[in-house]
Symmetry: C2
Subunit: 137 residues, 2 copies
DNA sequence: ATACTTGCAAATGATTTGCCAGTGT
DNA sequence: ACACTGGCAAATCATTTGCAAGTAT
């Protein structure tokens, strides 16, 4: 059996912050709670609070490995908890983005390694193309 | 035998522009010649001339299908002749971006279709990962 | 001649930086 | 207490838009 996603609790995340010397402040709790509650990756604006501080905090959390950011197309970057950032695909026809299932990601990752030797997690830029639904007109 | 890249001459490109009702101006010749001479995708700034006009012209050329743009990471977008934009891979360790060979692209494209049904040309966002060289430390 | 284009200035959107008052440890 | 943070203003970077003057057809 393979556990693919590290689903860490709020408490564990806060401990990681303290372990890295980051203080647990109201603003940081806001972004962490925002990301914990989110169904999808969020923009800095969607996380509320002062944008400059939000960006700084997202950066801080990214630097200690508990947050990542993705670019789904043009427009602002979007942030997710690292444990939830498996890999993504975006349809250029309907505009929807969806996470790749662990199995799908693994399959593609192997194919890419075979084809060109790259180890590609697809968690920074999504795979862009036409989704099955849009493919058949 | 399979011809995978449409290598169109300067004259053919200019004709396409006229065929789409776009006038052939000095500024447009500058961006076209810049892209024809380029080894790699270029930024608007690298193409010289007035940036606003350059962006407008790149947009115009993109709208008639003879130019495309790629995002290799953070920073400004980069533009290529559509016929030269096959698909790309970027190493997040050494920072280099390289085109995928037609064979490699086809292999990966099939694997992606098999895995999740997407038809993905990888010509807007590159495949990001660790290249073979950086993989072995 | 007339519509399409240019080049400059100014606007917009995303993200970063400087700074000082406020706060977590 | 003391160093780390927050919030506000202002700066920066990429890209877009408005507009009067210039030019390809």
């Amino acid at each position: 059996m393979l556990v693919h996603t590290t689903a860490r609790s709020r408490a564990a995340l806060l401990n990681t912050m303290r372990a890295h010397g980051l203080r647990v402040s109201t603003a940081r709790r806001r972004v962490l709670d925002g990301l914990l509650a989110a169904e999808h990756p969020l923009t800095a604006a969607e996380l509320g609070g002062d944008q400059a501080a939000t960006y700084r905090n997202l950066q801080a959390l990214e630097s200690i490995g508990i947050v990542r950011h993705v670019h789904f197309g043009h427009g602002p970057g979007r942030y997710v908890l690292a444990g939830r950032s498996g890999g993504w695909a975006t349809c250029e026809a309907c505009g929807r983005s969806r996470p790749l299932t662990p199995g799908t990601l693994e399959q593609i990752r192997c194919a890419v390694r075979d084809a060109c030797g790259f180890d590609a997690p697809f968690n920074h830029f999504p795979i862009v193309g036409r989704c099955p639904d849009c493919e058949l007109r």
